[in-house]
């Protein structure tokens, strides 16, 4: 089972390592983790994508909440939410594939953010599935040189906030 957790934690040294440590210490599986300060500089928001059975996921949530630095844990899988991920793909772009890659980028509503004589770097924002689909399509057209993905970020829909 997949779960997305949104965690607000004190923006203090050591807080991140406590969360990361928790996952290795208790053998929890983690797919992605992103963290950055929020508009309140004393708080950081972390988005965690984790997999496990119901009992394991419940434990993850409880153990996160138990950390003294953790202010709030919200299970976004339980409610309507928006998920996004940013990806940069550096791909070989020569000859006819230069046009085709540009077209694919437009179809997926991406942007080419860096160009060289032999390559494009394409930026794409979307859900995980969309990014996966783009990677698969691009691969058919031209070899990928390297990829970076930001990991998932997510917020609940509607006017309510996590606080």
């Amino acid at each position: 089972m997949r779960r997305i957790l949104s965690v607000l934690l004190e923006n203090e040294s050591g807080a991140l390592s406590r969360v990361v440590g928790l996952f290795s210490q208790r053998a929890f599986n983690i797919e992605s983790l992103t963290v950055a300060p929020t508009d309140d500089p004393t708080l950081s928001r972390m988005t965690i994508e984790a997999y496990g059975d119901e009992q394991v996921l419940e434990q993850i949530e409880k153990q996160l909440h138990k950390l003294v630095d953790v202010f709030k844990v919200m299970n976004l899988s339980d409610c309507d939410h928006v998920e996004r991920e940013v990806m940069l793909v550096k791909v070989k772009a020569q000859g006819t594939s230069r046009d085709e890659l540009k077209r694919l980028t437009e179809i997926f509503r991406g942007q080419i953010v860096d160009v060289s004589q032999k390559s494009y770097t394409i930026q794409l924002v979307g859900t995980k599935d969309k990014l996966d689909a783009f990677v698969a399509t691009v691969k058919e057209e031209s070899p990928i040189i390297e990829i970076v993905r930001s990991g998932l970020i997510s917020l609940s829909r509607g006017e309510k906030n996590c606080l």
């Binding site: 138990k66 003294v68 630095d69």
Partner: protein, 572 residues
């Protein structure tokens, strides 16, 4: 407002916090703090011989008193030596505050002399930790540390202080905060009223209920309420190793300890029960045996202050997050409603069944043996101390024999490393207890293996004149290892024989204490009485016990709660 240096702030904050003892060992990074201890005075510092023992001593002090134990060690090896002690306290939820020195801030990360990332290395075994960056923050950090260590589910908190932060030449205004608020830390104390009512109703209709108490019941100081509650509903009570003493071990409703070496009646009652009321327990593997076969008929009500303990191992039908004392108060208040009590199921058949199990007398042993039986030693110690001693234990067979044969009538008298199972815990812990209660009899039950893991503390005991009685069940083996090798490894005693044991009597005497050796059953009573008669000297009693003895009952690995062997099989 008075001005103090960082080092003075550490000492003054501890005084303002009401700390009586600090257990520690000096070194380069904490010399300024040690100097402030000397000049400011007001804190009794106990100089140990190894930092691990400092933590165990503070731990023993904390377990016996319920107060926060305090430790001071230097950077690098001082800090790493303390880790085993910290992990021990963490596993058993003991409130400690550990100060560790750190190299100068500008050297952190440079692999400087005696540098170690203490916050990092201790992270998995602390409740929380702080790295102090400015001297002005010291009082508030200390206040927070004591608050976090002692509230909710207690645990150790590390405060790592770089040397420049305690520079005696830089003074800052000092103020010790009265209160502290932490927005991200608010432990739940009071249980949900609806859940409490639901739990009580379920308990009252149960036909085979068992009350299962653990260390959390001791932490919550709820023994009065617990007894009242169990008596009122005539419930059978069992306990984990950590919960011994929360409910009087001498009471007829007490079935003894459960688990791997639990009594036949306790484990069998658990297996057949239809409702388990767990109070301050965590259903760890030593108390459940195989989870897949665990108590198949039981509905579980689980009261714990730590939500993460609930449904971690055993799913709870009715979870209650809260402090055991508060929840029991609510239970007792609800029981004032007579209609509710009248609905209670008749438990006489259940008790009849339990008495049959109890009649097996699973703790019996050979009382006419020519060699001393370890059980007999513990029984004699029990008799000579009228069951009222504080007993600190090490880890192994002697620990189990004591848990089974010394029924504790009061909480906080049984001091042992249950979770981590740290050999070497017993002696320093006993010294910590004796410092807290100098008028009480404090016993350290140990073995020839465990005692040698922190035997250097005999020197600390000499320096401060701490007269505990050490009872060493000497079987020339690592007894519990040997027992497993007898049972599981066809008697191949790989590295479990303690060849070349020292002469413990002479060794004790060399440290300036009294040593007594007991070789035969007929001298047991008299010589132990001599040991307990020594009120102002530490006595080490080296008791030569039967090396072939095993701890029984013993649950069968991978089995259900009621699957256990009661006596040594022919094959062993």
């Amino acid at each position: 407002m008075k001005k103090l240096s960082g080092a003075e702030m550490v000492v003054q904050s501890l005084r303002d916090q009401g700390v009586k003892y600090v257990f520690g060992y000096p070194g380069g990074a904490v010399l300024d703090i040690y100097d402030a201890i000397h000049t400011l005075a007001g804190i009794d510092h106990i100089l140990v011989r190894h930092e691990q023992a400092a933590v165990h001593m503070a731990d023993g002090y904390a377990r016996a008193t319920g107060e926060v134990g305090c430790v001071l060690v230097t950077s690098g090896p001082g800090a790493t030596n303390a880790i085993t002690g910290i992990a021990t306290a963490y596993m058993d939820s003991v409130p400690l505050v550990i100060f560790s020195g750190q190299v100068m801030s500008n050297l952190i990360g440079s692999d400087a002399f005696q540098e170690c990332d203490m916050v990092g290395i201790s992270r998995p075994v602390v409740k929380h930790s702080f790295l102090v960056k400015r001297a002005e923050d010291i009082p508030a950090v200390i206040k927070k540390a004591f608050y976090i260590a002692s509230t909710g589910r207690p645990g150790p908190v590390v405060i790592d202080i770089p040397k420049d932060v305690v520079n005696p030449n830089h003074k800052y205004p000092y103020h010790y905060p009265e209160d502290i608020a932490l927005r991200s830390y608010n432990p739940t104390v009071h249980g949900h009223k609806g859940q409490i009512k639901k739990a009580l109703k379920a308990l009252l209709v149960a036909k085979k209920p068992v009350l299962f108490v653990g260390g959390g019941a001791i932490t919550a100081n709820c023994h009065e309420q617990l007894k009242q509650f169990a008596k009122r509903l005539h419930l059978p009570v069992t306990s984990s190793l950590m919960g011994l003493g929360a409910y009087p071990g001498t009471d007829e409703q007490f079935l003894g300890m459960l688990g791997m070496h639990g009594t036949f009646e306790a484990n069998t009652a658990m297996h057949h029960s239809d409702l388990i009321l767990g109070i301050g327990v965590r259903f760890d593997d030593r108390t459940t045996n195989n989870l897949a076969k665990y108590c198949p008929h039981a509905k579980v009500i689980h009261i714990d202050i730590d939500p993460a303990s609930i449904s971690k191992n055993v799913p709870a039908a009715i979870p209650i997050v809260g402090s055991a004392d508060s929840v029991l108060d609510e239970f007792l208040a609800l029981l004032e409603d007579e209609n509710l009590v009248r609905s209670q199921a008749d438990l006489s058949d259940w008790w009849k069944q339990i008495e049959e199990w109890r009649a097996r007398k699973c703790l019996k042993f050979d009382r006419h043996s020519q060699v001393i039986k370890p059980q007999q030693v513990i029984e004699t110690v029990y008799r000579l101390t009228q069951g009222r001693a504080y007993v600190a234990s090490d880890v192994g067979q002697h620990q189990m024999f004591t848990a089974l044969h010394y029924p504790f009538a009061q909480p906080r008298r049984w001091i042992n490393s249950g979770g981590l199972g740290t050999m070497g815990f017993g002696l320093p812990a006993a010294l910590g207890v004796k410092l807290a209660y100098p008028q009480e009899t404090v016993v350290c039950v140990t073995g020839d293996g465990s005692i040698q893991m922190n035997i250097q503390e005999l020197s600390t005991a000499q320096q401060y004149g701490i007269p505990v009685v050490i009872i060493s069940l000497n079987n020339r083996f690592l007894g519990m290892v040997k027992q497993w090798q007898d049972l599981i490894y066809s008697g191949r005693h790989s590295q479990s024989y303690m060849d070349s044991l020292p002469d413990f009597v002479k060794l004790t005497q060399a440290y300036g204490h009294v040593g007594i050796q007991i070789d035969t059953p007929d001298e047991l009573e008299e010589k132990l009485a001599q040991a307990f008669a020594q009120k102002d000297k530490l006595v080490f009693v080296d008791v030569r016990v039967d090396e072939t003895e095993h701890v029984y009952p013993m649950q069968i690995r991978g089995g259900a709660m009621n699957e256990m062997i009661l006596t040594k099989p022919e094959s062993a």
